[in-house]
């Protein structure tokens, strides 16, 4: 298996249909088409970036592209104001406080369960695992009302903990599914050798399974991180004004789109820059996570 095949950068080995088209037409049309597509994909985000650096007084006078010919419209003022805006800064911190525990818990609990499903014998194991596979597609919407009542009974309504707990619950089916499949591919000899040396199951889990399972755990971690960071619906339902993440804080401003653009554009950019960095830095693991859920 080559690294490339699991990467975004997937190279073909042989002469294929487009290869021959390229050879015959010099690739001019194809190349122009792909450049246009790439531009179409870049322009929306680029526009948001430019808008976030524009003087909001200019918004009503013209689009962000005016700033290309009139660079005087550009200013860091919006970002300075955003950092002074306590709603935005505290919601940004809330996003971090929600995302990190929700990611770590899913990885830990999912790893333990994945190990049990892969390597331990217990009654009903395969049936329970099929149930987990089925739960993968259950929409989170069905859980909103009962869970909010449950949180009321537990006295944790509106807290960051309540948001985290929900994310962990709906992150687990995928985590168990992914990790069980990966762990079951770890060579049996390694575990038997550890047992010979008198290692306990807990020790095997930490010393053998987790280190060898790192690629899958990394994929899961990136995935869960991005999913929780970018979530809107769960936080919309379970958080309140003091625990809301940045997605909820921004969503509440979208109704007055034009007059809030000086908050929306830089806020949206701030909220997307973290996942963007995570994605570009760990792109390979991210793609693996997507594919583990999909391609056979």
């Amino acid at each position: 298996m080559t690294v490339a095949s699991s990467d975004i950068v997937t190279g073909a080995i042989n002469r294929s249909l487009p290869a021959r088209v390229v050879a015959r037409t010099g690739g001019g049309v194809l190349r122009i088409f792909l450049i246009v597509v790439a531009l179409v994909w870049l322009v929306p985000t680029f526009g948001l970036l430019v808008e976030s650096f524009r003087d909001p007084a200019q918004y009503a006078n013209g689009g962000w592209w005016d700033a290309i010919t009139h660079p005087g419209q550009l200013t860091a003022h919006n970002y300075v104001e955003l950092l002074k805006n306590s709603t935005m800064t505290s919601s940004f911190l809330n996003t971090i406080e929600i995302t990190l525990p929700a990611t770590i818990l899913v990885v830990l609990i999912g790893s333990a369960a994945g190990y049990a499903f892969a390597w331990m014998e217990f009654p009903g194991r395969d049936a329970i695992f099929l149930l987990v596979v089925g739960l993968l597609v259950i929409p989170i919407q069905i859980a909103l009302i009962p869970v909010i009542k449950l949180y009321g009974l537990m006295g944790i309504s509106g807290t960051i903990l309540s948001v985290i707990m929900f994310h962990v619950g709906f992150g687990l089916p995928f985590a168990i599914f992914l990790l069980r499949n990966y762990f079951s591919g770890i060579p049996r000899d390694l575990m038997e050798a550890a047992r010979m040396d008198g290692a306990s199951e807990v020790k095997i889990f930490f010393k053998v399974i987790l280190p060898l399972g790192m690629p899958a755990i990394a994929s899961l971690g990136i995935f869960q991180f991005l999913w929780v960071w970018n979530d809107l619906l769960v936080a919309l339902v379970f958080s309140n004004a003091t625990s809301e993440p940045i997605t909820v804080a921004l969503a509440s401003q979208t109704r007055q789109f034009g007059s809030s653009i000086d908050i929306l554009a830089p806020g949206a950019f701030l909220s997307l820059i973290v996942p963007l960095i995570v994605f570009l830095a760990f792109q390979r693991y991210f793609v693996q996570g997507v594919m583990a859920g999909s391609v056979k």
Binding site: V21, M120, I142, A143, I176, E201, D231, L250, A268, Y285
Partner: protein, 468 residues
């Protein structure tokens, strides 16, 4: 990650010792003889219980118990503050289809499911095929895949900015008006009307204006108008001039200049021509010629040298300037959100399909080529069938995602104001009913969503068992 791209069937396993750590799910076949992973017998059950317990309790509390609760709650009527009152049977389900707002949501969900998975899969396939041998394919793929990493909220704000109505502010309408003005450059003058002092024309700005008398070659038609914005005249407008030349000719000009003066009906010095106006020549009620005025307002039909003609300035000359479409208006809001969604998910399909194609046996295609198959035949008869399992997985994953779609619709509904309801989908409807404490109605919508994903669930379990 916007919602779940993580759904879907049958994960592959790449044992680290074999794969050299290359990772999960690289789209490769499993090593032979690994139909069932070997198990270690004889673990004490309480150790297993210890490992399963945290996940079990969590799934029971957050997923399984709510599923049962919601199913039961959906069968009861709602009191004013969300309490269940009497047993309703399937009334809440019937209401989904009989009440206009929830039925609108259902219809939109149907549109999403019918249109979007197919479009995403096709776009992804096109991109995957076209980039196969491009040197900068990886850069292209990262660009197209990156929207997957950002939130639906950020994407929604990004696209709401594009969909702002005014062409001067929203890129969508700026592009549309740009294309429109390039394709049909004739200018439109909503305020222009025939001079009231010289009544040569009949009609209205809605129907266009027609001359009362007929004109022939050699006798230029002078068509006086007023109402041109003299403070901001068309940038190319020049002082009006009587036309010369062969055939039927004439001039359309603004019979008034700043400061007044001049003779009504006569082209006086300083009066501006009206450029870019469409003029049609009619004979017997039929259009026999069409032309556009010059910067000085002059027009001519060099081919019409004999006979006499009625002249018409069609209504399009007087319609308001084209300002694009109302992206977030009643008819276009769902297509507009779908475009934003395609922007997010095309990369997902592209990456999966590209990986699937890279894993195909090249020899098969080479053999087909040697046998004389054309490239299209190879693609249609060899590549596509081999790729169909991946295509199916992408398609099913998208169906699941689209059924549950919430965030991007919710976000882009906000700037749409009163038109938001035209974009409603089931998940948003559920959220609204939850907000109104109509828990029975909301629960029914939730269970309907579950029922709709059950085929996908069966597909997934089936696929998983096949891989074991």
């Amino acid at each position: 990650m916007p919602e779940d791209a993580r759904v879907a069937p049958a994960a592959p396993t790449s044992p680290p010792a074999v794969a050299g750590g290359a990772g999960v799910g690289a789209g490769r076949a499993q090593p032979p003889g690994k139909t069932k992973p070997p198990r270690l017998p004889g673990e004490s059950r309480w150790v297993a219980a210890l490992f399963i317990f945290p996940a079990g309790i969590w799934l029971a509390a957050i997923v399984l118990y709510p599923l049962v609760y919601t199913l039961i709650r959906s069968l009861f009527h709602d009191g004013p503050v969300g309490q269940a009152t009497s047993f309703a049977g399937i009334q809440n389900y019937i209401d989904i289809f009989t009440q206009s707002d929830s039925f609108e949501a259902f219809k939109n969900n149907v549109i999403w499911v019918v249109v979007v998975p197919a479009l995403v899969t096709i776009l992804g396939l096109i991109f995957a095929v076209l980039t196969e041998r491009i040197r900068w394919a990886s850069a292209f793929k990262i660009i197209v895949f990156t929207p997957m990493a950002i939130s639906f909220l950020a994407a929604g704000i990004t696209w709401s900015l594009i969909y702002v109505d005014q062409p001067s502010q929203g890129l969508g309408n700026a592009v549309l008006t740009g294309i429109h003005d390039t394709v049909s450059p004739s200018a439109a003058y909503p305020n222009l009307h025939p001079s009231t002092q010289v009544t040569l024309l009949d009609g209205s700005s809605a129907k266009g204006y027609t001359t009362k008398k007929q004109y022939a070659a050699g006798a230029p038609a002078a068509l006086p108008f007023t109402g041109l914005d003299l403070l901001h005249p068309p940038s190319n407008a020049q002082p009006a001039a009587q036309p010369s030349g062969k055939g039927l000719t004439g001039v359309v000009w603004n019979d008034f200049k700043a400061g007044g003066g001049g003779t009504p009906g006569k082209v006086d010095p300083g009066e501006l021509g009206v450029p870019g106006v469409t003029v049609q020549a009619l004979q017997g009620g039929k259009v026999v010629g069409s032309t556009t005025t010059q910067p000085d307002g002059a027009f001519s039909f060099p081919g019409l040298t004999s006979g006499s003609y009625t002249l018409e300035l069609p209504a399009s000359d007087f319609s308001a300037a084209y300002t694009g479409v109302s992206w977030l208006g009643p008819t276009l809001i769902t297509p507009a959100i779908i475009i934003a969604y395609l922007w997010i998910y095309a990369g997902f399909a592209m990456v999966l399909l590209a990986a699937g194609m890279a894993a195909l046996p090249r020899e098969t295609m080479e053999a087909a080529r040697i046998d004389g198959a054309t490239e299209w035949q190879v693609f249609r008869r060899v590549t596509m069938p081999l790729l169909s399992p991946v295509l199916l997985v992408v398609f099913v994953t998208m169906v699941i995602n689209v059924l549950k779609i919430f965030d991007i619709v919710f976000v882009m509904q906000q700037p749409a104001g009163g038109n938001a309801r035209y974009a409603n989908v089931l998940a948003v409807q559920l959220y609204d009913e939850y907000g109104n404490q109509q828990y029975g109605a909301a629960s029914a919508v939730g269970i309907l969503l579950v029922i709709l994903v059950i085929p996908a669930m069966i597909f997934q379990i089936h696929n998983f068992r096949k891989s074991q």
